[in-house]
Symmetry: D2
Subunit: 295 residues, 4 copies
């Protein structure tokens, strides 16, 4: 089995790396806080002390880091791995980052005979642990083929969106836009229901078990109906980051996205009202307040 470098052992990255180990890959891991690597090392992973050490020349490196800035740092920063990965290597980037940085890094690798595969993932930590993520990927055909076993080991399905470096990133941020739109629209629907005397949870149950009986509605309908402040699946501030990513990609392609703009305003408002550290479904509270309901 091939050797794979893995950078970023957060809530998503750690279980993803675990699945690579399980699938038999020889995995070298790096994390800014090395303590997070312990469980992996116990199962046989090698621990690198700097990003560049995870890379074997011509090998494969998977990154799962927070954002464009962190990606740039581990890749091209002072101790970044890209130089060493070098010719014939493949960088598999699974983070939700901008199409821009994907295109830039892709160009950087292309000039050096290396390859960049955008492979952002859909799914929460439990899905990552169960290897039940959905992965969307784009990049050079041969590189995608080579890393297919790596992607398979972490997911229940991989969807190919062509050779364009940023394509998969656009699909990823468009997908997060769709999820956020569901939160907003359910909030509006339940609020008009509530003020007409209808039980919000009954609406949630109806929609998510009939025409909208799919994971996104099943994940969010109950939380939109009755907000649970202790559940933070996806931070409000990260939601704003992602909506900004899709709006930036859209602006560069000269595409107006009016619902995305509206969601951006909603998230900004939620942050303004002190909800930045809550799950992004807390925008349902804003929707209710705009109708004069107290929460």
């Amino acid at each position: 089995m091939e050797q794979v470098g893995f950078i970023g052992l957060g809530l998503m990255g750690e279980p993803m790396a675990q699945n690579l180990l399980k699938a038999g890959f020889a995995v070298t891991v790096y994390n800014r806080t090395p303590g997070k690597a312990k469980a992996l090392v116990d199962k046989g992973a090698k621990l690198a002390s700097r990003p560049e050490e995870v890379a074997a020349p011509g090998g494969i490196v998977v990154t799962m880091v927070a954002d464009d800035h962190a990606l740039e740092e581990v890749t091209l920063g002072p101790s970044g791995f890209a130089e060493r990965l070098g010719k014939g290597g493949v960088h598999v980037c699974t983070s939700t980052v901008s199409p821009d940085i994907a295109r830039r890094l892709s160009g950087w690798y292309a000039q050096r005979g290396g390859h960049y595969v955008a492979a952002p993932v859909f799914g929460r930590p439990p899905a990552a642990a169960a290897a039940k993520l959905w992965i969307v990927c784009s990049g050079p055909q041969a590189a995608k083929q080579r890393v297919q076993p790596v992607l398979n080991a972490m997911s229940q399905g991989v969807f190919d969106f062509g050779e364009g470096a940023g394509n998969a990133n656009v699909v990823k941020v468009a997908g997060n836009f769709l999820i956020c739109s569901v939160i907003e629209c359910l909030s509006e629907a339940f609020t008009v229901g509530e003020k007409n005397g209808i039980d919000r949870m009954a609406m949630a149950k109806f929609f998510s078990t009939t025409n909208f009986n799919c994971p996104v509605y099943q994940n969010y309908a109950a939380g939109v109906a009755e907000f649970d402040p202790t559940h933070v699946g996806f931070l409000m501030t990260l939601g704003l980051k992602d909506i900004n990513l899709v709006l930036d990609a859209a602006e560069k392609a000269a595409v107006p996205m009016p619902v995305a703009s509206l969601l951006r305003d909603r998230l900004v408002s939620a942050i303004g009202k002190g909800r930045g550290a809550l799950d992004w479904s807390a925008i349902s509270l804003n929707v209710a307040e705009d109708a004069g309901l107290r929460r």
Copy 2:
């Protein structure tokens, strides 16, 4: 089996009445254009020549007519059935009408010892034919219980939203709002994809088979990706009617619904551009045009 009157034999009403016959009810039907009743009469339905003739005093009448105006007409108009249905009767209204008229008719019946059950349906004609509709209902408990077999005969599930006369209507128009929001949001997502070089149909396939693998997305994703002008499942103008219904209900309850307002503008614009007779998913063409794409 109980005798049931049925008014309105359009694309939805006719197969719904068929299912009542199949379930063993004695059905008396009325339609403005009596020719549409032929298949039902062949299978044993009685044909009434005026709305009031479908009603048996204290019996059950199901209506499936176009809108508030038509409902008012067949119910309380010169040859309306409500007077004759009278004390102890139940009017089951399955149309998408305003919560207002539901509340008004409910009050009318209540004063005369009759009952009104709002029971709008979700589903297209094929679902109606297969008795696979979803029905949301509201009204007096005893009346709902009495007509439960009638609703069961036409649907794969009945959801109860309480005693409020207009409750089920609010849920219905909120549901249509949710469906329309899906069309708009998929349109925005696919357009930002297209202008980034991504195949719209690939996006449609990805979303509708993974996190959004439910009927609404499965019904609309492909049509939003590649609009088919020959398919008219739900008219643009009816879409506007329904969004106006939810916005009216929301205004009366002092609930702002910004996405619904945006959808209203989108539908108005589509009609302004000559698309009033197309399926409402043709708003995807407007979204594309706003990004400078030609169709």
Copy 3:
């Protein structure tokens, strides 16, 4: 001088009728609450006890009533004046009503050899008292010419928008839309200023004395900067009525008006938050709250 009937002696109508008296017209007035006519009668007006009594056959009647419903009532209701005004008469309607009712009444008169002139006014009661209203009018050319002295007596200027019965009404509701948009936009501007540490009133002063030094900004900027709950120039609920009027006219002409839709949501939200009885500039409070500011 010609005899003129005048119906509707509210905050606007009373001073308008006063100005007709001052200009030398023989004025017969009617108001639902006859007490309001006292000052006019003292100055020589005749008091009618029913709407129809204000009309002389072939004469002129000016109406300034609350809305479509009141207009219909005084015109075509049981004691309405239109029948008596009859052939050759001119009905000058100065209220903010729908283009629809203007077109309908215009057709009614046309069939009987009478005329309808839409002549809604811009300005508050003090402007009405000072004969400083602006009047926009539309209707048959000859009728407009005949009533020109009447309009002149109440205004500082009359603008002609053609023969279409509802034209002037469209201009009027479009104008109120523009005013409301100013309130919203100033609110957004001052709120981004406030949260950046800038004095709202300084912004109000700057804009309304430089590039926006016109009545609308001068009237509203200070009130948007520091809301005064005791000042009610124009009721929130009337604002919603007027925005609904422009949106209805726009929908019928298949024109999307996204800012108008946004204003509608804002007004609905303000009403939902209990501000229906405040001046419509209180939407500035909603804008501030959406940014997390407390008022």
Copy 4:
């Protein structure tokens, strides 16, 4: 009279520098394209060959450059003037730049005993030539006082928005937001008028001579009524830059600005339709097209 450095001799900067000369200041100018300095040199200005040469230690430098990037370059770039301006010097920045860069530069100067005064201007080239600009300023009190004669020489009025470095920039971008909102709202108003058979130019004339008789409406109403493709007062792409500036400032302060978001979508759409090189009032064409009108 004090010596003043001036950087940026574009359509705005050149006449502004002329007015400093006229007022008796000793002016040293710099422009990337030195040819543009000829008329100024003819009237006594000194020409510098690099930005730093315009600065006298402890003196005053006025900049009027395109954007954040150009400002950073002439100030802190390899041949930037800030270092030489040094202790006691005042940098007067008249460009429309972000509050962020204002705050950053202000901090840079403060650490070195220098001062930064934000002084963006409202007005077009003819106003600049006539010394009829409006200037909004913010920064340290003493520095503002010292440069008051400089600002006076270029304007018809100076408004002080406090000591916060970015305050004046916030007011400036908020002002451009207000102007753009006027274009959008007039477009909506005239389009509902047009489709009701009303002359757009008559509406433009009415509004801009009555309740909206101020420069912004007077400048834009006619152009919104009948778009003139040969007139480019303010580029669509610059409009988008400025709306993005206000939205960024708003996001950082957690202020939702729904109308600004809508304007952003409108500008993006206009650019998507190939109108990026037109005056930003060309968004009126988009508004008309959304209503099905052909232009």
